[in-house]
């Protein structure tokens, strides 16, 4: 295939440009015969010249030495061909110059030089236009060494066609694309060929100043006859990279000069020039004379030339960087609105709309007169140019909703009325145009009707605008928009469909935002508004606010009418759904996204589910699109945390349907956010959604059945089977890391007194009891256990790791359960027990021989160690008790050392809060504390581990419980507290107060504040698996010292611990481990000072041992923050985590400047401009999350940038 196209490309440069078909075939055969004489070289040349895309090689981006050599070779071959193949020369008709026949790049370049020198001959010009320049264009970049000849041509040639090409090439040399390819055949490396060429050795840096000089002088040439060339010269100049400030100021000068001159004549032509402020009139004075010279009558030609120049100037101005603060710039741009040239008007509007986005006030002031009913802006409504009208809509939109104009309603109303006219004159509009307008209108409506756009705009302003909307254009607007959208969904054009779906998506976003802000009431009343608007326009305005009244009235009047927004939406969505039938995947993708956004928490999602399920069965869906939809789910969830469950169900469809296409990271992100953000009730469901992935049957190679069922996996090829396995791995790992969080089961916060659980010696009963107590964790455990023996090898490893993590983190019955399981697994005995669930995938299911046992051993060892330590401790305690002895310092020291050693050991496997974690069991707490108090050891010294702090692990568990607390613990809590907390959560139906929870989740998800889980967690969670090698190494090292314990403790410890401990716990008089979660906090419900609460909690037990009092915690915003946070989580985190606060703050905010320009590669990345000042929030994986002082051109304020691009100050 490369050969076929190669021929045509080769033909182009070696044959005549306008061959008769017959001749072209013969020339092709001629060249074919020629190439057969020198086939190897030609073939290699051919293959080099076209580089098919499939190999992903860049055309000409790499000008390798080899390519150069080939080119030289090729040149010589062409010469040889010419000499050896006279037939071919004869075939070529109308040869102007015989020696130009073999056309290679060298020849082309050479002939340009020669022809430039013999310009006086007409034939030369013809030659240039017909042969040389078109052929040169095929090369993907323009060689700077051609510049001298081009400039010479530019100066001397009169022929317009030649000149046009010359401008084209000069512009390409000036632009960056002079260096990078523009498609076609790669330009040979000119440096290597320099000796062949007469003007060789010229670099771009040499010629650019010359080109710029010549072009600027041309652009300033005011001769009438020259003005077409001025246009082109100016145009070519704008191609030069904008970094050159000298050139830039020159350009501004030229452009403003042109506009100055052109304005002189404006009064003659345009009625609305009087808007220009006086100072510009002054500037016009010299030009008045000129006007006199030509006279108003002779003006036709004159004004056309002027309009041409205006066009050129405005187009150039559009390409120049915006100069927002500069009134001159603004006025020049505003001038353009009344120009005669439509393109100039469009550019002017585009500039203005961009300016208006930044500074609506001054733009509005400048355009005040133009916007008035007889102003120039009105004329644009009748302009044929769609883009101009779009720009106008944009402009009006940004002005009309600008806050700065609040005190000038008159101006705003002008713009509003234009906007409505734009929207309301469908007669002349093409369908697509309606969409443009509709999309902007939707935005605007979103802020008006739904009081919000995506950016959570200006809540206070919205009502006023809403009102003004209604007075001017009552409800039909929304009907109109809906109708248009519907009609556009019936279009055949895919772009239109896509755009319409996008508009619906935007609407969904606005709606979701409105819901999320707790404006359901208002939203409902909006439905009603529309309804009553139909009924009676006048009434609407007075009563748009008292929702309560209106709602009741509307409900009574409701049935019988179908003009509510809800019904409009319903019919719209119906059309949207049918659009799913479009054959274009991207349109369908957009429709699905729109549906996801329009899905409200209260509606049934069956339809959406089945749509998505059937959609995903289509193999045409590209992976990127699928992931995009997943990210949409994620965004949707951020907007409405209530929907976590629904969204997870949808995500599950993705996981089951197209495991091969989705990115495990994206899915994990979704899970994680949903898990964290989901309410207390949602946690279980959220985790369930993850475990469902594990329940998937292993893919059966080659089976394509089950496409219709939701839970069947369609992993028909090895690749997607592998991907599915990755997915399962991810799910297993996720479970291991988060099960404890989801179940709010932590060893160090256990709700169950350890003794009672262990009294039940029957393992089955114990497990049953535990599952009834905490079904979430139990469910996760069951699934992980299943994975540990029936998955593929990789999955099993991860599952075992996950189990260990849970074992370490969980309280007693679970730990024991896992311990037993792992132990049996290591022995290889589980298989028989659980074999009914076993599905063979051809691998050895047991652990024998495959090394899983070896893997498990270190994990078992940790648990063994812990149990042995607990045994010892209990023995010692009993001894002391029986003998009625005090604990001696050495004994305590030994105990403490064991404690620390175990802590270190355990930390190798997973993160645990060292300050709080008690590997020796809850009963060791007192003794450890005693020792610590005696020796002044800070409890949390362990967590100052730099890696832990740097990655923010220490924040993670506790900080993340704060935004979305585990309410399963609330059973033991003061009722007031629970209520206060629940009210903040907004889960109990207090709709009015929903916003805090929402913003908290948003903040949390967006990574604002110190929690920054979005990014950090990736890091955090990956640590255990990264550290696996270390752990491995360490266990190998420690093998010797542990060996002696090994044999015995494995079997003995669980039971013996249980029995001993039970007696001990009774002996201790039911003194519980002082868990803050199980404890009943004392009376202060609002918990103003958690410190004191903590104290009182502790003293309530009459404990003789006092833990170090927590350092005074400074409340920066005591009331507000406190009310948002779970008082329970707070107290616990304060008590042990207080030390972490310090380093977290110091790593908090730093400042820096951008070293280089950076272009964002993704949605979460941020564009940077050199020297920009930044606020560094945190670092993750070589990226900084930074905030800008003000939004960049793209409007983004914060995002990720590479660390190396930022200079930290």
């Amino acid at each position: 295939m490369a050969e076929a196209s190669g021929k045509t490309l080769m033909d182009l440069i070696s044959a005549d440009p306008t061959p008769i078909p017959a001749k072209s075939s013969s020339s092709a055969s001629a060249s074919a015969s020629a190439s057969s004489t020198a086939s190897p070289a030609a073939a290699s040349a051919g293959s080099h010249l076209q580089q098919p895309m499939s190999t992903k090689t860049t055309l000409g981006e790499k000008k390798s030495k080899r390519a150069t050599l080939t080119q030289i070779q090729n040149d010589t071959i062409s010469v040889a061909k010419a000499a050896l193949n006279p037939v071919k020369a004869n075939i070529m008709p109308q040869r102007q110059r015989q020696k130009k026949k073999p056309v290679s790049y060298t020849q082309l370049a050479r002939s340009i030089h020669e022809l430039a020198a013999t310009l006086d001959q007409k034939s030369s010009q013809k030659q240039l236009v017909n042969h040389v320049f078109p052929k040169l264009a095929v090369y993907n970049s323009v060689d700077p060494s051609l510049a001298p000849s081009l400039l010479m041509l530019n100066q001397q040639c009169e022929d317009r066609n030649v000149l046009r090409y010359v401008y084209y090439y000069l512009a390409r040399i000036l632009s960056d694309t002079g260096m990078s390819p523009g498609g076609g055949i790669p330009t040979p490396n000119w440096d290597a060929l320099a000796d062949i060429d007469a003007g060789g050795g010229v670099t771009r840096a040499d010629v650019v100043p010359r080109i710029v000089n010549q072009l600027t002088s041309e652009a300033s040439n005011s001769e009438t006859e020259f003005h077409a060339r001025r246009l082109q010269a100016l145009k070519a100049l704008t191609y030069s990279p904008s970094g050159n400030s000298e050139l830039l100021s020159k350009l501004y000068e030229i452009v403003f000069g042109l506009l100055d001159k052109s304005k002189a004549d404006v009064p003659v032509r345009c009625r609305s020039t009087d808007y220009v402020p006086c100072r510009f009139q002054v500037a016009d004075v010299p030009n008045k004379r000129k006007k006199g010279v030509f006279g108003t009558k002779g003006g036709d030609k004159e004004s056309i030339i002027r309009s041409n120049l205006q066009y050129a100037a405005m187009s150039a101005l559009r390409r120049l960087p915006l100069d927002p603060g500069n009134p001159l710039f603004l006025h020049r741009a505003a001038q353009g609105v009344s120009f005669a040239d439509p393109v100039a008007v469009r550019h002017s509007l585009e500039i203005l709309s961009e300016l208006a986005a930044r500074d609506p006030y001054s733009v509005a002031m400048t355009l005040e007169k133009l916007a008035s009913p007889a102003g120039a802006l009105q004329d644009i409504l009748h302009l044929n140019d769609v883009l101009a009208r779009v720009a106008l809509a944009r402009l009006c939109h940004s002005i009309s909703r600008a806050r700065a104009l609040d005190e000038r309603p008159d101006i705003r109303s002008h713009f509003n009325s234009i906007l409505y006219q734009l929207l309301l004159d469908p007669s002349e509009r093409v369908l697509s145009d309606q969409h443009f307008i509709a999309s902007f209108r939707t935005d605007e409506r979103a802020s008006g009707w739904y009081r919000l756009t995506r950016e959570i705009l200006k809540l206070p302003e919205a009502p006023s605008k809403d009102k003004s909307n209604k007075t001017k254009r009552p409800q039909p607007l929304i009907k109109l928009v809906m109708r248009r959208l519907e009609s556009s969904f019936r279009s055949f054009s895919r772009p239109v469909l896509h755009a319409a779906a996008r508009v619906v998506q935007e609407m969904g976003k606005s709606r979701a935002a409105a819901f999320a802000m707790g404006l359901q009431d208002i939203d409902e009343s909006v439905h009603v508004n529309a309804f009553s608007d139909v009924l009676d326009d006048a009434e609407t305005n007075d009563s748009s606010h008292p929702e309560g009244i209106r709602r009741t009235s509307s409900i009574s009047a409701g049935p019988g009418r179908n003009e509510t927004i809800a019904s409009l939406l319903a019919s719209l969505m119906e059309v949207v759904r049918t659009t799913v039938a479009c054959e274009c995947v991207y349109v369908r993708g957009m429709v699905v996204k729109a549906l996801i956004w329009m899905q409200s928490p209260h509606e049934s999602l069956d339809e959406l589910k089945s749509i998505i399920a059937s959609e995903l069965s289509d193999p045409a869906w590209p992976a990127a699109l699928v992931n995009d939809v997943l990210l949409t789910l994620h965004a949707r969830f951020k907007a409405t945390p209530d929907m976590a469950v629904i969204l997870l169900e949808i995500a599950r469809i993705f996981a089951t349907k197209v495991p091969g296409k989705i990115d495990a990271d994206v899915l994990q992100l979704l899970w994680k956010t949903c898990l964290i953000g989901a309410g207390p009730d949602g946690k279980h469901t959220a985790l369930e959604a993850v475990t469902i992935v594990l329940d998937l049957p292993p893919p059966q190679p080659g089976s394509m059945s089950g496409l219709t069922s939701l839970d069947r996996v369609s992993a028909s090829d090895p690749k997607s089977a592998l991907a599915l396995q990755k997915l399962v791995q991810a799910a297993v790992w996720f479970l291991g890391e988060n099960a404890n969080y989801a179940a709010s089961e932590y060893a160090w916060e256990s709700a169950t007194p350890p003794g009672t659980a262990l009294m039940m010696l029957d393992a089955d009963k114990m497990v049953a009891a535990a599952s009834s107590r905490n079904p979430t964790l139990a469910g996760a455990l069951t699934r992980l256990q299943r994975c540990a023996f029936s998955g593929s090898w990789e999955v099993r490893i991860v599952a075992v790791q996950a189990l260990t993590t849970i074992a370490i983190r969980s309280g007693e019955p679970f730990r024991l359960q896992i311990y037993e399981f792992l132990y049996t697994l290591a022995e290889g005995g589980v298989q028989s027990q659980l074999s009914e669930m076993h599905l063979s995938n051809g691998e050895d299911q047991g652990v024998s021989g495959t090394g899983l046992g070896v893997l498990i051993t270190p994990m078992l060892k940790v648990l063994d160690e812990m149990y042995v330590g607990q045994d010892e401790l209990i023995k010692d305690m009993r001894n002391h008790d029986n003998a009625n002895k005090e604990w001696k310092d050495e004994e305590l020291k030994k105990l403490y050392e064991t404690h620390e050693r175990l802590l270190d050991f355990v930390s190798l496997f997973c993160y645990i809060p060292k300050a709080k974690y008690l590997p020796l069991g809850p009963i060791s707490a007192k003794l450890i504390d005693t020792y610590r108090t005696k020796h002044n050891i800070t409890a949390s010294s362990g967590s100052t581990d730099p890696t832990v702090l740097a990655t923010g692990i220490s924040d993670l568990i506790y900080e993340s419980t704060q935004p979305a607390p585990a309410a399963s613990n609330s059973s033991g809590l003061d009722d007031d507290l629970v209520n206060a907390w629940a009210a903040n959560l907004g889960d109990d139906g207090l709709l009015g107060n929903n916003a805090p929870a929402m913003s908290r989740v948003n903040e949390f998800i967006a990574g604002v504040g110190t929690d920054a889980p979005d990014v950090d967690e990736e890091n955090v969670f990956s640590r255990p698996s990264v550290g696996y090698d270390d752990m491995w190494a360490k266990t190998l090292l420690e093998n010797n010292e542990l060996e002696e314990d090994d044999a015995r403790s494995g079997s003995s410890s669980p039971d013996s611990t249980g029995s001993v401990e039970s007696s001990i716990s009774s002996h201790f008089g039911g003194m519980n481990y002082p868990s803050l979660f199980s404890s009943k906090p004392s009376s202060q419900a609002t918990a103003k000072s958690s410190g004191s609460k903590y104290q009182s909690t502790y003293e309530g037990y009459g404990s003789p041992i006092r833990e170090e009092p927590p350092p005074p915690y400074s409340y920066s915003e005591p009331q507000s923050r406190e009310s948002f946070e779970n008082p329970m989580a707070e107290s616990s985190s304060r008590s042990y985590g207080s030390d972490d606060d310090e380093p977290r703050k110091s790593t908090g905010t730093r400042f820096g400047t951008a070293l280089y320009d950076f272009t964002a590669g993704g949605d979460d990345e941020l564009n940077l401009t050199t020297e920009e000042e930044l606020e560094i929030e945190y670092e993750v994986d070589g990226w900084f999350y930074v905030k800008k002082k003000r939004p960049g051109r793209d409007g983004k304020m914060a995002g990720l940038v590479p660390v190396l691009y930022v200079n930290q100050s």
Binding site: M1, A2, A4, S5, T8, L9, D11, L12, T18, Q50, P52, M53, S54, L59, E61, F133, P134, L136, A137, V138, R164, Y165, Y167, A171, T177, G183, G184, H227, A228, L231, T238, Y239, D300, K301, I304, I305, N308, S315, R318, R319, D341, V343, D385, V386, L387, V390, R394, S432, S439, R494, P495, V496, L497, H498, R502, Y586, M590, A624, D628, D1163
Partner: protein
């Protein structure tokens, strides 16, 4: 911003490409993405039937004209509808120059003029001239409107 204009032949060789505001290292990705998109979707598509795709916030509109496929990539104000507008103008101009939907051969023969046309239609990533006559005049170095 119109990020890219790309012409490719039926087997995926890039004939013309113009990138605007796309870093050099991303161009390769875009190029192969577009060509792959064309290879997957443009089989049997009628002349000038518009196809659409999007990748994150970037829109792609592409079509087939004779043997040549044309891709436009845009973002921000150049959404799928604006791109559809632009591609309509481009296909119109190409047809005018070639006289009919071009074969690859004809396209390459008219390569120079097509480049000039494109230069007038898309200028620095922004849609410039949309009017056929105007484009025709401008590529002959005549002023956009005659007196």
């Amino acid at each position: 911003m119109i990020l890219a204009v790309l012409f490719a032949n039926s087997v995926g060789n890039v004939l013309i490409e113009r990138f605007n505001g796309v870093p050099a290292e991303e161009r390769l990705t875009w190029r192969s993405f577009l060509v792959k998109l064309g290879a997957e979707n443009l089989k049997g598509v009628k002349n000038e039937e518009l196809l659409v795709a999007c990748h994150k916030s970037v829109y792609i509109v592409y079509t087939m004209l004779g043997d040549v496929s044309i891709f436009l990539v845009g973002k921000d104000e150049y959404d799928e509808l604006a791109l559809a507008e632009a591609i309509f103008i481009i296909t119109g101009a190409v047809k005018d120059i070639c006289g009919k939907p071009p074969t690859e051969r004809v396209f390459l023969d008219k390569y120079g003029r097509i480049c000039l046309c494109l230069d007038e239609i898309v200028w620095n990533g922004l849609l410039e001239n949309t009017d056929k006559d105007r484009i025709k005049r401008l590529i002959r170095l005549k002023p956009p409107s005659e007196f």
